[in-house]
Symmetry: C2
Subunit: 207 residues, 2 copies
Amino acid sequence: DVSPLTLNRLCLYLRSLRRLEADGVSRISSQDLARRFNLSAAQIRKDLAQFGAFGIRGAGYDVSPLIERLDSILRLDRRHPVIVVGMGNLGSALACYLGFNHGSFEVVAGVDNDPGRVGREVGGFRIEHTDHLARVVRDSGAEIGVLAVPAKAAQQNYDLLVEAGIRGVLNFAPTRVQPVPEVPLKDVDLRIHLEELAYFLPPSDTD
Amino acid sequence: DVSPLTLNRLCLYLRSLRRLEADGVSRISSQDLARRFNLSAAQIRKDLAQFGAFGIRGAGYDVSPLIERLDSILRLDRRHPVIVVGMGNLGSALACYLGFNHGSFEVVAGVDNDPGRVGREVGGFRIEHTDHLARVVRDSGAEIGVLAVPAKAAQQNYDLLVEAGIRGVLNFAPTRVQPVPEVPLKDVDLRIHLEELAYFLPPSDTD
Ligand SMILES: NC(=O)c1ccc[n+]([C@@H]2O[C@H](COP(=O)([O-])OP(=O)(O)OC[C@H]3O[C@@H](n4cnc5c(N)ncnc54)[C@H](O)[C@@H]3O)[C@@H](O)[C@H]2O)c1
Ligand SMILES: NC(=O)c1ccc[n+]([C@@H]2O[C@H](COP(=O)([O-])OP(=O)(O)OC[C@H]3O[C@@H](n4cnc5c(N)ncnc54)[C@H](O)[C@@H]3O)[C@@H](O)[C@H]2O)c1
């Protein structure tokens, strides 16, 4: 099994390699990759070797084959259909965003309990009512659920998603959701991205 | 200087410690903290010792003082006012979210170029027009800018924020923005959270 932090590093390597490929770079050394992340080249070699991805000694890694290898390790070489619960501001932004950026995640359905939103078309599908969640999960083939509801509605919607047969849940609501062992839950807090930026801010006159 | 990945770990430790504190835990060993992250206790001790945060041998770390120490290292012990450029779905969700969760980040202003949105009240302020961005940054004291505009408007709004005296920018638009050295830029892609979840999904019948 891979630790969450190794996984985080692999996702970052993949993002960086995709950029290199877009810029036309076909090979990169572990030193160059390390410099981009302020990491040691040994850490990168160790991470990649753990999955049998070995560079050519002295010449580095071939970018495209390494991308394919990481895609397969991270299970991104297959399609993951997503359902969004709560089609307000955040849910709508996610549905549109995942609609345009063709990657392995695609929002295939969205539900809400506000009758005023039900029936609207967003990101290529019509919003349905949460009362029909089980049917919508079955018909859409959704595998991952995203909670974009207010905090007080998060637990109940996680439980409904589990009952409907969802395989994993991403939670944006600022509250603790009690997961069941078979359905992994990951909390997202966008503040963590602000925290990482805040550290690198140049000093201000009031610091 | 701290590497982005060390910084990422420190933010994760802080989040975990805040949860422990909320649960009434006053002391934790590096082993217990390591188990939560699937890390080695040595890695945690090394990370924390780098900043002079030493545990009590055999007894671990006092949770509240360690939180204060990490808050100060990560510069979260002070207020960081934020301005959002692009008050559509994502921008509005962020403005409301940072309004309710009292932490060190607070959205103090928002601008948009759609006259239909200008003047609306969101998250405790009125949306202004991007033509007045320089004045709004000055009057609000905003230190961090968030780009929640379409990809084609990202670079020009980064440049406008720099001219207005912003100190750092968080970019959600799916495009490469060329930063200037004095104003750090961090890209955010919510897919990275989905990628980390996808790895942990239980196997399905089609895998
Ligand atoms: N984690 C983060 O970084 C982050 C960032 C922004 C917002 N948020 C959170 O995401 C959530 C959504 O934020 P938003 O700005 O989109 O709010 P919003 O009010 O615009 O959207 C919430 C939607 O959920 C629907 N809803 C409410 N109760 C429901 C229920 N029981 N079942 C189904 N749908 C229900 C509402 O009708 C609405 O459409 C909030 O909890 C907010 O705090 C988190
Ligand atoms: N990185 C991620 O994970 C992620 C997730 C969701 C959305 N996004 C991106 O965030 C951006 C916003 O998404 P959204 O769903 O809120 O879209 P939206 O259309 O709801 O909002 C965009 C807002 O920007 C305003 N705008 C357009 N051009 C502008 C300009 N030149 N100056 C100022 N304001 C301008 C529009 O009037 C609108 O209010 C998009 O680029 C989207 O791709 C990224």
